[in-house]
């Protein structure tokens, strides 16, 4: 009990510390204000304090505070300082007016900027300054003007490094949240697309945006996401990976339960399905919840290609995903326990190829898989030109040398290569990594108990998957709890004309997606029939 009490007390104390950030009034005297600010920003040499005088007689004292590098200096110089120092001189309001309405004149009549706010809480003003706004203080007023001058270093949208497509847009998310919301908004120009902004991280004060379609999304899912986001109480959120790990359902699972993507079209598609997008500042990876395993095996290109091709590609990808998990384990099980299930001659040729290899199949496979993991890791860390070289040196030279040196058999090299190639077809990086871990577990089971071990492993993975949920949605949906409607966009991808309803397993409010169209061959008269009821 004592332990719990002390933990409880500590929690309460933490709560109090945070509540201390209460309202702090701004002193009317400018010198005093600046003194407080200089104390707050002590040893912060990137903060700019600019004091200046305004008016013909130079009697009105002003001060401007912003952060060097974050704020747009051109905007501050040309439209704040210039307006106040030069243009304001030309206007000649009556002396009395100036005394009483100086603040309003400055706010509404002088500053030529789009985003202006008035604030009388010094703490909030400091917060704004830190997020790249500029604050203007006027002597004699207990209020400050906050000018939106955000211009932080940013990258312009470029092609996503993961999830490449041939057919489809090649813009990708960037590190700036505002750009990212714009990329989604550009695709869905509907006031029902809501962009709710939150802040997370006590110190980092990271902006986050929750995006959803108001009339489609399931409120329970949305509510759950908000609750979990609000529970977060951490010093800093540096990447959306923090959020993903802080709000996911099962932290012990090797599989990601929230989809992360760099592609704006994938997020827009998910939002239209009734999912929720979470954009975190400073991260080009946008989260999509709830996620299912199949949604992570889908590429957005699947929807841009014609359905016959898309179905073929998608099925191939799913088979590849299964192969990438089971192939090495099956090889180990078959060569070391049950060589009788493959044709006699093939078994002989495998045995012949393994002639001279001193290790059992498991060690052989482990050597190859581990060296492949090393190559992969090295390839990611090294700069691009050397990364390619590593692939060639590692893959071809070492592979060939290992076979000649009889450390591994050529069949093993083939198996490991096919496994690696298959795993690269999985579009989602997190799922790919999770499957690698499962692959190693299955290899161990295969080494211990042969085919029976592989089956046990398969059952174990399946049990884990059927128990897994992402925000209340079964992870294996729509394969489980299957309704006929959801089949059309699962393992296969049927024609878009059949996508009349949104996925049923998400239990959305607005189910209908498009107006029913004829599935037959069209004749010329109906050429421009696009289905007006589509939303």
């Amino acid at each position: 009990m004592g332990l719990f009490d002390s933990i409880k007390k500590r929690l309460e104390r933490n709560g109090q510390e945070q509540k201390k950030a209460e309202k702090m009034p701004i002193p009317e005297d400018l010198d005093e204000t600046l003194k407080i600010l200089r104390e707050v920003f002590k040893d912060c040499d990137d903060v700019i304090f600019r004091e200046f005088n305004v008016g013909v007689e130079q009697k009105l004292r002003y001060a401007l505070v912003c952060i060097d590098g974050l704020s747009d200096k051109i905007l501050v110089d040309n439209f704040v300082l210039e307006s106040l120092m030069l243009d304001a001189r030309m206007a000649q309001p009556g002396i009395d007016d100036i005394k009483s309405k100086l603040f309003d004149f400055t706010l509404n009549g002088t500053l030529a900027a789009t985003e202006l706010k008035e604030n009388d809480d010094l703490n909030q003003v400091i917060g704004s300054i830190l997020s790249a706004d500029t604050a203007v203080f006027i002597n004699g007023y207990d209020r400050a003007i906050v000018i939106g001058t955000k211009l932080w270093p940013a990258r312009s949208p470029s092609e996503p490094k993961s999830e490449g497509v041939v057919r489809g847009p090649s813009d990708g998310f960037v590190e700036t949240m505002r750009f990212n919301t714009a990329l989604v908004r550009r695709r869905i120009r509907d006031p029902r697309l809501k962009v709710k902004q939150l802040q997370g991280g006590v110190r980092s004060k990271t902006d986050m945006a929750v995006l959803y379609m108001e009339d489609i999304v399931n409120e329970d899912i949305l509510q759950q996401i908000y609750e979990r986001l609000k529970e977060i109480d951490i010093d800093g959120i540096l990447e959306s990976g923090y959020i993903e790990q802080l709000i996911e359902d099962n932290i012990f699972s090797p599989f990601p339960q929230i989809q992360s993507t760099e592609r704006p079209d994938a997020v827009a598609g998910a939002i239209l399905d009734g999912r929720v997008g979470i954009i975190v500042d400073n991260s080009p990876f946008v989260l999509i919840a709830p996620a299912t395993m199949l949604s992570m095996l889908h590429s957005s290109e699947d929807y841009y290609q014609r359905w016959v091709v898309a179905t073929f590609v998608r099925t191939t990808r799913i088979i590849a995903a299964i192969l990438s998990v089971f192939l090495p384990a099956l090889y180990i099980a078959i060569t070391s326990y049950n060589p009788d299930i493959i044709p006699f001659r093939f078994a002989l040729s495998i045995a012949g190829a393994r002639e001279g290899v001193p290790f059992p199949a498991f060690i052989e496979a482990a050597i190859m898989e581990i060296s492949l993991e090393l190559l992969r890791e090295a390839g990611v860390r090294l700069p691009d030109p050397i990364g390619g070289t590593i692939g060639i040196v590692g893959g071809i030279v070492i592979g060939q040398a290992a076979v000649s040196a009889k450390i591994v058999s050529p069949v093993m090299v083939i198996i490991v290569s096919i496994t690696a190639i298959s795993s690269f077809t999985i579009p989602n990086f997190g799922l790919n990594t999770g499957m690698r871990i499962v692959r190693f577990l299955l290899m161990i089971l295969a080494a211990v108990m042969g085919l029976y071990g592989v089956m046990l492993g398969f059952i174990a993975v399946l049990i884990h998957l059927v128990n897994l949920k992402s925000f209340g949605v079964p992870y294996l949906a729509p394969v489980v709890s299957m309704s006929g409607r959801d089949f059309k966009d699962s393992v296969v991808r049927l024609p878009i004309r059949t996508f009349i309803f949104r996925p049923e397993f998400l239990q959305v409010n607005n189910k209908k997606r498009m107006k029913r169209m004829s599935l037959g061959v069209k004749d010329d008269r109906n050429k421009n029939d696009k289905g007006e009821g589509s939303r």
Binding site: D340, I341, I463, N467
Partner: protein, 366 residues
Amino acid sequence: MINNDKISNTQLWMFIVLTTIGVGVFSLPRVAAEAADQDGWIVVVLGGVITLVDFYIISRLAKKFPGDTLVEMANKVLGKYLAVPVLIVFWLYMLSISAMTLRIFGEVVKMSILIRTPVEVILISILLLVLWLTRGGVEPISRFNEIIFPILIIVLVFAGLLTLPKSDFSNILPIFTIGAQDILKGAYQSAYSYAGFEFVFFIIPFIKKPERIFRPGAFAIAITSLVYVAAVILSLAKFGALQTKELIWPTLSLIRSVEVPGSFIERLEGIVMSQWVLLAFTTIVPVTFGVASLPSRMLKHREFKHFCTIAVPIVYLIAMVPDNIVETYEYLDFIAAYLQAPSIFIIPVLLLISSSIRKVGRKANG
């Protein structure tokens, strides 16, 4: 509220098919041939009919008590004290079915793919998975079955087609040579192969439409019978009645005899055995669920998971009682003689009749 959890009709029939098809499929041709020689398949069909009638009674009970398991039904119908012996008999039946299935499973795996592994290792490893899945409750089990089902059906159909060459279907002629008494006896014996569907008693509260379970159930039993009849006919056609009687697991021998010329997989045994691990698993899990569910409902304990953790070791201990496979089948005969009839017939009928007399439960329409 997000809720995909209640069992739909589709899930229910897959659930029942996977539960009823279990280890019985391997020994069934022998049982059938012993009872009725080349008329064995008639025995199996009759076994299916018996099961169907039994399931009809269960569905009537489900209609009357849509939110209850067997425990609440017995308490409502028979009263607190009279319900206890009835439930104990039923529990023993479920327990022994679960344990014997497990043991036969272990022996088959040992014989066919893990010859030098002790049977204890096989049993404990699979039981850990059984425990994991049962602790999750009904919904994960039904989702699990939904994934397994298509895989299994494809493999079964494929394997069945591949056994066709070199079969002689004149082996099942002439038909109707055996007396009615033998056929009925055989039908009763073959009912073990259908055992397991009694778990439905324990999942009634989790079904979306508990009033209408007869149709999916009948469909499921039809599929099971089809698979069994196919197994029996194919074994008889391949080996003839006399040889089928001599084999412990004729179906296994049948699969072993298959050769697939010109394809990558030469012998089906490994593939079918690994699929069969799934079949046995999907039988053991629901029955073990029943074994754990019954006492937890009886004692009105809220933590079902603890009962699973206790039930699984008990199942293991019972499974290890027989010394060898022959003894296991002797135990099964014992169960068939003393526990099966009361559990699958007398108890449901008793409940149905006395609920009508005492007018308990919701009135069935028509």
